[in-house]
Symmetry: C2
DNA sequence: GTCAAAAATCGTAGCGCTACGATTTTAGCT
DNA sequence: AGCTAAAATCGTAGCGCTACGATTTTTGAC
């Protein structure tokens, strides 16, 4: 059944034109602006398209128009509901506007990010979405030589390259700290994924520590070696509370870490929140189901996707004023029973 | 600073050639097969590329060679560690072989899948990766008129369109059932996400029910209205156990559902596993941290990605015999303390 | 019926690159 | 030095489409 040599793309616009008895230009026009073709031809063209199973060749179109419907998106990892929900929303909004997402995984590594930026720019994308403000020197130079619209998302508070949609991670830390202080806690700890890996976790820590210390409290820091891992988190929690048995509250860089801490507390029979208050970050699905339900920070995951899409789209239409290129979506403390 | 009208792609291969004092063909050759260019020119060309910040235009290249380095991947949702881990692995393996992933979200909707297939085929992709065997009529016809290599992943046991990498969901159900039967349970229930939405959850249910009933047990089915939602799961569990207080074991279509059930059991003081045995599917991160840790099925998430990539790559090199186009990776029961 | 204006259609010239055969250069002999 | 084979380089002709100005057809006022 394998008909041709290779190239799955067989039917061309010219063949459609021939069958419909019009010129290729008319077919092209019909595809791009159907309203400008007379109904009679439009029907014949559509019939020919259906009959032949014609699919336009995106590359040829993109080359000829020197525009592309590609938007590149780089996230540290898609294995993480933070970014995957943003991606899903972003995808939905951009696709309905006719754009195609090219997704890349930086794995929290800026030289990988550079490689991906290079690869995506070679598609001549209509836009580019990056996570955070941290890019290496070469990436910055690549982007500087390029007038592609760029959104930096999931952070806020630095100038940024072009457009910014996110929230302040420092505020997240502050919010948790204020809540714990309000509950009368003073001796705190912060258990975190690795700062090297995730700079934004570092920002949350600083917001937490600054607020606690300003109120006369203390913060003990524990950093995991990599991403959150239940076993390591358990061990870390155990030694933390052996060394500092007076700790009254633990803030975590994210909900997975908080879950690890919570399970260790259950094993050790340290009651939450009576003996130890606990808070996370992310408001992941399971946080409503733990016992007790986890107090956490709700980051605007889907909103980031939605507003990134909106900004990019209006920017591409050339109607986004300079003043609207920066958006702080803020965060919300979700008060449950763990603090 | 905005120099040109539009088109972020400014420097062409011709300009590089001019600066390096060679013809454009030589630059092209250098980029594609560097070994065939003399070291002297190679250096000059590389210098020119660096100096001008040249980035090749993927679309032009793709059009000219009528090949593309694009591989389309369709998953039901990326907001789910099942698929996102497969995607991450797939991405890593394929990118290192020079391919670019075009990811689409079908949202468990086959007309959306069709639209995405159309959109991806218009890129003239080198390969296509789909989730499962269920595709609508038009999708099948699109694919039939097209000799793009296709992998259907995350399932096994049907003929498939071309290549298949996955495991049997029926076996997952059977494995859980056998384990529960071994523990002496007979009156069972299955709490599931919606079958309409996720056909594979239905297969797991059938595997479970068939095995239990063959051993003389009973299975009560409860289906959620959509994706797993902690609150609805809790309600469903409560009424299930009111109506059938003799139930001794609950199998769930996935770990999130199992977590919802577990939390409801805790609220109602039904001891797990003494009063009720519980099992999930997926072996998600949190399953080691629950109390008690959850018995579940480990699907080969990363292996699917890895073998899909391997198969696709060797197929693209034309060296994958017909006999190696189908791979059952199997699953493993992870015995913890909930059953 | 005639004619100008508007609408519809068409032809041509690329977009930036690759494939491949033609041509030039180099290397290795005698 | 002269010659041949191999290696390196180049020129040309597209890939399938879009942009845009030129041409043809239609419309409707008189």
């Amino acid at each position: 059944m394998a008909r041709n040599r290779r190239s799955s793309q067989r039917v061309t616009m010219g063949e459609v034109a021939q069958l419909a008895n019009v010129s290729p230009s008319t077919v092209s026009l019909y595809l791009r602006r159907p309203g400008e073709v007379s109904p009679r031809r439009a029907d014949k063209i559509q019939a020919a398209i259906d009959r032949l199973g014609y699919l336009p060749n995106t590359m040829a179109g993109g080359l000829a128009s020197s525009r592309s419907n590609v938007i590149g998106v780089l996230v540290p990892t898609i294995t993480n509901s933070f970014f995957s929900e943003t991606l899903e929303t972003l995808e939905r909004h951009l696709r309905s506007a006719g754009y195609q997402l090219l997704i890349g995984n930086t794995e929290f590594d800026d030289s990988r990010e550079e490689e991906l930026i290079r690869s995506i720019l070679s598609w001549n994308p209509a836009g580019l979405v990056l996570t955070g403000f941290l890019h290496n020197r070469k990436s910055l130079s690549l982007l500087a030589h390029n007038d592609t619209p760029i959104v930096e998302m999931w952070d806020y508070g630095q100038p940024g390259l072009d457009m910014v949609v996110g929230f302040s991670h420092h505020s997240c830390g502050r919010l948790v700290a204020e809540h714990m202080l309000r509950q009368g806690r003073r001796r705190m700890a912060f258990v975190s994924t690795n700062f090297q890996r995730d700079v934004r976790a570092g920002d949350r820590y600083h917001g937490f520590r600054d607020t606690v210390e300003a109120a006369g409290g203390t913060v003990e820091l524990r950093e995991l070696s990599g991403r959150s891992h239940a076993e390591e988190t358990g061990r870390l929690t155990q030694t933390l509370l052996q060394e500092h048995p007076d700790i009254e509250a633990i803030a975590c860089s994210n909900d997975m870490v908080a879950l690890g801490v919570m399970m260790e507390c259950q094993r050790q029979h340290w009651a939450i929140p009576d003996r130890i208050a606990l808070a996370g970050f992310g408001n992941l699905d399971f946080t409503t189901s733990t016992v007790p339900p986890l107090t956490t920070i709700e980051p605007p995951r889907r909103e980031i996707g939605q507003h990134t899409a909106r900004m990019l789209l209006s920017r591409l239409k050339g109607e986004l004023p300079e003043s609207d290129r920066r958006l702080d979506l803020g965060v919300r403390l979700v008060e449950r029973q763990s603090v």
